[in-house]
Amino acid sequence: MSALRLLAEQDPGELVEGLTAVGRGIVYGGAAIGPGIGIGIVVGNAITAMARQPESAGVVRTTMFLGIAFTEALALFGFVLSFIISG
C-alpha cells in the first residue's frame, strides 16, 4: 500500500524514467539468454571438432568465429534496442 502511495506521490516523469530503465534491463537480459546458450553450443561443438581433428583446427576456428558472430548479433540487437527504448 505504502509503495503504491509512494509511486502515486512521485512525479510521473520520474516513474516513466525508472520503468524505462527496468525495461532496458529486461530487454537486454532477455536478449542475452538465447545467444548465450547458442554461443555455448557453437564453441562446445567447435572444440569437439578441433579435438577430433586437430589438423582442421584452423578452418574450424574461422567457422566458429563466424558462427559466434551470427549468434552474437541477436544479443547485440537487444543491446541496441535497450538504447532505443527511451521514456
Binding site: V59, T62, F65, L66, A69, F70, E72, A73, L76, F77, F79, V80, F83
Partner: protein, 252 residues
C-alpha cells in the same frame, strides 16, 4: 548508494566538435587511423625493399596482407575474389586501427562505438555485393536466386521468400553495422565502468581491499578488448567477403 558517479552514456560517447566540418574526436580517430595505415604501409614498403628477409614492420605488413588474402578471401571467394583485396584489406585495417584506439592510453575511444562509420561501411558492402551479383548473374537471375533459393519445396516459398528478402536486403547490412557498433560500444562501456569503479574504490577508504580485483579485471578486459578489436575487424571483413562471394557464386 556507493557514491559511484557513473556518467550518462551520452557523456561517454559524444564528443564536442572542435575542427572544421564538425571534426571531433571520432572523426580525428578515423583520420588518424587512415594515416596510420598509410604510414604503416609506406614504412613497410620502404623497409621491405631493402631487406632480404622481412623483419619488423615489413613482416607485419606482409603477414597481415597475407592474412586478408588467405584467411578471408581464399576461404570465402577463392582466387577470383582477389579483385576485392584492396577493398577488404582497407576495411580490415581501417576498422582494426579505429577499434584499437579503444585501449590506447589518452585516447581510449573506439571510433566504431559511434554508429556512423559502421553504417557507411555496411551500406558500402551491401551496395557492392548487390551490384556484383547483378553484374555477374544479371538482375533477374540474381533476385530469383535470392528470393527463390533452389532446392526448396514450392509451397515453402510462401514462407521462405519474405524471410530471404528481409534477411538478405535488410538484416545483412543492419546486423553487419550493429555487430561492429554494439561490440565496440559495449567494450567501451565495460572498460569505462571498470575504470570508474576502480577509481571510486581507490578513493573510498575501506573498499580499497577489493580494488585490486576490480583493477585486475580491468587489465584483463583491456587484453580482451584487443582481441575483440581484432576479431570485429576480422568478422566484419570476412562477412563482407562471404556476402560478396555469395552474390558472385550463388551455388555456395
Amino acid at each position: 548508494m556507493l557514491g559511484l558517479e557513473f556518467p550518462p552514456i551520452s557523456e561517454l560517447v559524444e564528443w564536442k566538435s572542435f575542427g572544421p566540418g564538425g571534426l571531433n574526436k571520432v572523426g580525428l580517430i578515423y583520420v588518424v587511423s587512415a594515416l596510420l595505415t598509410i604510414a604503416f604501409f609506406m614504412t613497410a614498403v620502404a623497409k621491405g625493399r631493402k631487406q632480404r628477409v622481412p623483419t619488423g614492420v615489413a613482416a607485419i605488413a606482409e603477414s597481415s596482407v597475407d592474412f586478408v588474402r588467405n584467411q578471408i578471401i581464399m576461404q570465402t571467394m577463392g582466387t577470383e575474389g582477389m579483385v576485392y583485396l584492396p577493398l577488404l584489406a582497407t576495411m580490415f585495417f581501417f576498422i582494426f586501427f579505429s577499434n584499437i584506439f579503444e585501449i590506447i592510453p589518452g585516447v581510449q575511444f573506439p571510433a566504431n562505438a559511434r554508429i556512423a562509420m559502421p553504417i557507411v561501411l555496411a551500406l558500402l558492402v551491401w551496395l557492392i555485393f548487390n551490384v556484383a551479383g547483378i553484374v555477374k548473374q544479371g538482375p533477374i537471375q540474381y533476385f530469383k536466386g535470392i528470393l527463390f533459393p533452389p532446392g526448396v519445396p514450392k509451397a515453402l516459398y510462401l514462407l521462405v521468400t519474405p524471410i530471404e528478402l528481409v534477411s538478405t536486403l535488410l538484416v545483412r547490412p543492419l546486423s553487419l553495422s550493429v555487430r561492429l557498433f554494439a561490440n565496440m560500444l559495449a567494450g567501451h562501456l565495460i572498460l569505462a565502468t571498470f575504470a570508474v569503479l576502480s577509481a571510486a574504490l581507490f578513493s573510498a577508504s575501506i573498499s580499497i581491499v577489493v580494488m585490486p580485483f576490480s583493477f585486475l579485471l580491468l587489465v584483463f578486459l583491456m587484453g580482451f578488448e584487443i582481441l575483440v578489436s581484432f576479431l570485429q575487424a576480422f568478422i566484419f571483413t570476412i562477412l563482407a567477403a562471404v556476402y560478396i562471394g555469395g552474390a558472385v557464386h550463388p551455388e555456395h
